[in-house]
Each structure stands twice: as structure tokens, then as C-alpha cells.
């Protein structure tokens, strides 16, 4: 570090090639660090190192899953309805000449174990911004949840917090919750799963993209101030060797402010409506780092960013902390200079902070300065597209044969009326089957006035067009016990269940999203489960003729060395031309005939 600036700069990095850097602690391997040095032609600055470590992490780069996820595109039937697919913030499906729908499910598992309320709340907040970034008004959420045993101490702490968090954030945003899952299994004891799905609606011609086109255009940061949220790992370690007296322990918990997010939604929709912006990207897990690199990389442009212009909650933040911060409720906008004033006015009217922090440049370099010194000078594509890709070793779990041999048929059956009664009562009382209204009552299902079906129906149905009655149906399903026994068929089964639920409510299934919750990809047995599940889902989609439009992978879900059951959660979106024809699940009237379809 230069004595004069007090922080690591590009020129200083060029002068001190041998300075030791904590890349291992940041999760980068020797060869990955070498690659970074090659790309830059020097050692990275501490800010650059932080950025590469974030963007090349499993979470952002999909380095272990990429080779498998390709099947979704390769095997998928071609569809003219898909306006945006894998690679975008969320998939977009056209459902009429002028209306499109976008939906996606994402995980927020680990934060929800540490701080259940905020973890779950910010999980909802994050997926909502993905939907917003496509140009859509969010219209509903769903929440597939997994907890440990219902009577375990940790579950008593985690479950109420998670449910209150999902409700607290979604209710405050005015998003009806139209379905989800609550499943208990000891395998989730130390690692509950909080997946959140959001669906949004947009006029086809309002579809937004994240590309930072047009050199000279202004880069605007919209929303909350940037604080030290969720940067425990990165910033502490990145500054570790530079700070002799040792960095303070930072919180890794993000706190959400749904009120600001609601204002963010309204201001963005007004900006889209009035065609005031060129591009937009949400700030999610990887904060500014991800938003700046993805927007410039996808357009093949560069940027000049003055990081000092970013509104901070704490003045003492380092540049790498600003770049890595996971503060919630922020969006990045690309704006033509002539429209900047109007954009700032819209933000002000809604009470949201908007700040021009730099501009788009030609030449493909992302240059970030701090107190007049350049602290980052990178080709953005190297962070987004050139991350490592691994074909990890895979092996069928050793216990699988035994598990599969232990068949349900060998279990004793109830033989007498008394036994039957006993079995029935046990089933009815089991946490996985019993009434879930303690959870769902905490969610607003009426807001927006378009909820046609919600809990406890097979799928949620939302009216999109009040004139024509056009609507959509959504279901999310997963069965980890099946997936544990047979991940290939388990994933197919989740898809089939979700597909059936949508069909059963009277809609035509159109598209798929998924959240793949697994253990560590470094465990060959987990990797095998993952590969099988992806293969199963891709084959299932090909057989049913509907595409995967997006999703999310969550690895490293385990309690100690014990991985969770493989838990692919599948969401299916359907369209219904007139919601008046929806089919609720209750029996309709007295003399209705009951028919059993199938075997």
C-alpha cells in the first residue's frame, strides 16, 4: 500500500509485483490467481482481487454447474414465446400479443440460518429486483421452504423468523403470496432452505436489458445507501494483509428495507414507462462489482466510475468494501445524458436517492477511481465470462444401492380398522401433511386484487388482464426424499408434479424455473446427484415440451459433513386464457360425480 494514499492503487500494484495477497483466504486457487495476473499483466489491486474473488466464486460463476446446466438450452424445445432466457436476470415468456410474464426462483439459504428474519426477507427482496430488472411489475411471490425436524430447537428459532421475514417483506411490498412449500426433514437441521419465487408482468415492448450501451451514457446508482452489509468475508480478508492492527469483524448480515424497495419498484416502473433509461441491472449478491461488470461486459463497453460518488452509510469504507457491499434495495441504471435530469426528478418524486457515479466508455475497460487514484482497471468480460469452469469428479453415493433396496413394499401395512385409523391419524398429524395455515395466514394473498387462487390450492392463479380475463398459474414443487433415492427421476418427478398442479388448475403449462439446492460440489457423490438431477430435469422438460427459462444453483448446503438431501425445486408457469374457467381443488357441489383419472 502506498503511504501517500492509504489504499492500494493500480500504479502501486504495478510497482509492487511481489506483494503477497490473501487470495487463498478469498477462495481463489493458485491457478485462478495466476490467471488474474495474466489477464491484468500485473498483480491485482486489493479492490480487483476482491472483485475477481466474488465474480469467480461458485455463487456467481457457476463454475461447478455450468457444464451440466447447458443441457437446459441444448435439450429444450425451441420456443417463440421465450423473449429472454437463461443468462438474463429472469426468463421472459410472451403470453399474448402484447403481454409478457417473467419469473424466477432463487435461494437465500445460508443467510436465513444465521438471521432467519432478515435472511428470508432479503431473499424475497433480491428475487423481486431480478424481476423488476426485466421491466416487469412484480405481481406475486411464492416460497418453497425446508426446515429441520419440527420439534427441534433450531426449527423453533428458524421457522417463525423465516415465515415472518417472507411475510414482512412481501406484505410490505404489496405482493400477494400465492403458494409455496413447508417441508420438515432432519437433513435440513443446520441448513434450512429458503427459496423465493417472484413473477412479474410487462408489456412486451417494455422489456428491459442490462446492456450498458452508448459511450457517454451516464451510470446511475438508484436506491439505498451503501453500507457494510454482507461483506464479512471479502473485505476483511482483502484488507487483511494491508491492515497491521487487524480489521474489525464485519457483520455478514444484510438488513432489508422493504419500504425503500417499494419506492424502487414504483420509480423504476415510471422510468421504464417513460423510456428514460437505456439499461438496468439489479444489485444482488455481488453488489456493485457484479452490476458494473455485467452491464459493461454484456454491451462490450467499458466504464469510468468515480467510487467516491457512491452514497455511503459509513464514510470510513474502503473501496473494496464499497465494491463488495451487498446492501439491499439498489439498482444500476444506464441513462442518456440528456435524460439524466428527468431520471433524477422521478427518483426524487418517489423519495429514492439517485446518483450519477460515472459513464460508459469505449474500449472495454472498467476503470474505477477512488480519491483521484485508479484502483480498478480491468476488462469486465474477464470477470463475467472468463471465470473458471470445472468438470468436477462424480461418483454414485456408496449407500445408494442399500437405500434403494430398502423398499416401501417391505413395510408393515395396517391390517385392522384400528390400525388403519391409527395410521390415518399419524399421517394427518405429521408436520409435513398437516394444515399450513399457521404459516400462510401470515402472508397477504389479496393485495393487488388479482389473486384468483392461492393457498391451499394446487397452484396460484393471478389475473393479468381484467378486460379479457387472461391469467397465469404457478406452482413450485420438490421432493427431496425421492431425489435422494433417485436424483434423475426425483427431478423429473418434481417437474411432473408442478406441471400437473398447473394443469389441474385449468392452465396450460408454458415454462420452467428451478432452484437446485445441493451439498458441496467438491464431494463427488453430491456432484453425481447434481448431474443426475439436471439431466432428469432437462430430459423431463424435453419430454413435456416446455423450456427452462432460468433458475439458481445453491451448493454447500450441509450440516457439518452431512449434505442435505438433493433438493431440486421446480416452478412451472402456465397460462389460462380466461381465469373464470380456473378449477379450484374443492368439490364443487352436492351431486358432482367423482372420477379417478390415471392409475
Amino acid at each position: 500500500m502506498t503511504a501517500t494514499t492509504g489504499f492500494d492503487t493500480v500504479s502501486h500494484a504495478a510497482e509492487t509485483p511481489d506483494e503477497e495477497q490473501p487470495y487463498e483466504e478469498l477462495g481463489l486457487r493458485d491457478d485462478e490467481y495466476e490467471r488474474i495476473r495474466q489477464i491484468l499483466g500485473r498483480r491485482p489491486t486489493s479492490s480487483e482481487l476482491a472483485m475477481y474473488s466474488i465474480m469467480w466464486s461458485e455463487h456467481c460463476s457457476y463454475k461447478s454447474s455450468k457444464v451440466h446446466l447447458r443441457q437446459f438450452s441444448e435439450k429444450a424445445p425451441k420456443s417463440d414465446l421465450m423473449l429472454a432466457g437463461i443468462g438474463e436476470n429472469a426468463g421472459v415468456i410472451r403470453i399474448s400479443d402484447d403481454i409478457a410474464v417473467t419469473f424466477k426462483v432463487e435461494s437465500h439459504n445460508h443467510p436465513s440460518f444465521v438471521e432467519p428474519y432478515q435472511g428470508a426477507a432479503t431473499g424475497v427482496g433480491g428475487i423481486v429486483r431480478d424481476i423488476l430488472a426485466m421491466g416487469a411489475r412484480p405481481v406475486a411471490v411464492m416460497d418453497p421452504l425446508r426446515f429441520g425436524a419440527a420439534d427441534h430447537e433450531d426449527t423453533k428459532r428458524v421457522l417463525p423468523g423465516v415465515v415472518a421475514g417472507v411475510g414482512g417483506y412481501g406484505n410490505c411490498l404489496g405482493l400477494p403470496n400465492i403458494g409455496g412449500e413447508v417441508v420438515f426433514d432432519p437433513c435440513y437441521q443446520g441448513n434450512p432452505l429458503v427459496n423465493a419465487l417472484c413473477v412479474g408482468v410487462l408489456p412486451v415492448n417494455r422489456l428491459q436489458n442490462k446492456e450498458a450501451h452508448g459511450p457517454g451514457n451516464v451510470v446511475v446508482l438508484l436506491g439505498a445507501k451503501t453500507g457494510r452489509d454482507g461483506i464479512g468475508g471479502v473485505s476483511v480478508l482483502a484488507s487483511a494483509t494491508f491492515n497491521s492492527d487487524g480489521p474489525a469483524r464485519r457483520p455478514s448480515v444484510q438488513v432489508g428495507d422493504p419500504f425503500i424497495e417499494k419506492l424502487l419498484i414504483e420509480s423504476c416502473l415510471e422510468l421504464y414507462e417513460r423510456e428514460l433509461i437505456v439499461g438496468v441491472q439489479d444489485l444482488g449478491g455481488a453488489g456493485l462489482t457484479c452490476a458494473l461488470t455485467e452491464t459493461s461486459a454484456s454491451a462490450g463497453t467499458g466504464m469510468d466510475i468515480n467510487l467516491n460518488l457512491v452514497p455511503l452509510r459509513e464514510a470510513s469504507m474502503d473501496p473494496q468494501e464499497v465494491l463488495a457491499s451487498e446492501s439491499q434495495e439498489r439498482m444500476l441504471l444506464i441513462v442518456e445524458p440528456g435524460k439524466l435530469d428527468e431520471v433524477l426528478r422521478v427518483a426524487e418524486r418517489w423519495g429514492v436517492i439517485a446518483t450519477a457515479i460515472g459513464q460508459v466508455t469505449e474500449g472495454g475497460r472498467l476503470v474505477i477511481s477512488w480519491h483521484g487514484e485508479v484502483v480498478v482497471d480491468v476488462p469486465p468480460g474477464s470477470l463475467v465470462d472468463d471465470g473458471p469452469v470445472y468438470a468436477r469428479p462424480m461418483r454414485e453415493p456408496a449407500d445408494l444401492i442399500l437405500l434403494q433396496a430398502d423398499r416401501a413394499e417391505t413395510l408393515p401395512r395396517p391390517r385392522s380398522g384400528v390400525e388403519l385409523r391409527e395410521t390415518l391419524l399419524r399421517l394427518a398429524a405429521s408436520p409435513n401433511l398437516c394444515d399450513k395455515s399457521w404459516v400462510t395466514e401470515q402472508y397477504d394473498r389479496y393485495v393487488q386484487g388479482n389473486t384468483i387462487l392461492a393457498q391451499p390450492e394446487n397452484s396460484g392463479v393471478i389475473r393479468i388482464d381484467e378486460q379479457t380475463g387472461l391469467g397465469i398459474a404457478l406452482s413450485v414443487d420438490g421432493n427431496a426424499r425421492y431425489a435422494r433415492l433417485d436424483p434423475y427421476n426425483g427431478a423429473k418427478l418434481a417437474l411432473a408434479e408442478s406441471y400437473r398442479n398447473v394443469a389441474a388448475s385449468g392452465a396450460t403449462p408454458l415454462a420452467v424455473t428451478n432452484c437446485l439446492n445441493f451439498g458441496s460440489p467438491e464431494d463427488p457423490q453430491v456432484m453425481w446427484q447434481f448431474a443426475e438431477a439436471v439431466r432428469g430435469l432437462a430430459d423431463g422438460c424435453a419430454e413435456l415440451g416446455i423450456p427452462v427459462t432460468g433458475g439458481n444453483v445453491s451448493f454447500y448446503n450441509s450440516t457439518g459433513p452431512q449434505a442435505i438431501h438433493p433438493t431440486p425445486v421446480v416452478g412451472v408457469l402456465g397460462v389460462i386464457s380466461n381465469v373464470g374457467t380456473r378449477v379450484p381443488m374443492g368439490f364443487g357441489g352436492d351431486s358432482d360425480v367423482i372420477v379417478l383419472l390415471g392409475e
Binding site: 453500507g227 464485519r250 457483520p251 428495507d257 425503500i260 439491499q328
Partner: protein, 86 residues
Amino acid sequence: MARVVVDVMLKPEILDPQGQAVANALPRLGVADVASVRIGKRIEIEFAGAADLDRAREIADKLLANPVIEDFTLRVEETPAEGEGQ
């Protein structure tokens, strides 16, 4: 009867949406010189017998504060005689 007061505040680096919303509302009330507002909890624990500070600390730690995002301080407070006080 003895009272222990526990003050629970969000850690300084944690976002305080409530405090921020209140601070933003003040100019509309004609108040301009407030730099920031933080909102936390004040919890009064009334002991049947003597005030037990260790007990109270344990309660605060386990039940009242979330150590991931909050700090707390606690102190014994004289209980004002009935009818007194503001």
C-alpha cells in the same frame, strides 16, 4: 420490586430503516438540525425480589437482543414511587 432496564440498539453499521424513515420525516415537521435518528428497544424487567443483573443479562442475551445485528446495555434503575415521574 426492582427494575433492570435493557437498551437494545442495532449495531452502528447495521441499516436502521425505522430511524431513517423518521429522520426523513422531520423536515416536514419543520425540524432541520437533526443529523440522524436511531430506533431501538427499551425493555424494563421487573424482578419480584432484588434486581438480578446477571439474570437480566442472560435474558437479554438469549431473548431480547439478536447478537448478530444488535448490541445491548443494561442497568438497574430505581423504581419511581407510584404517581411520581413524568
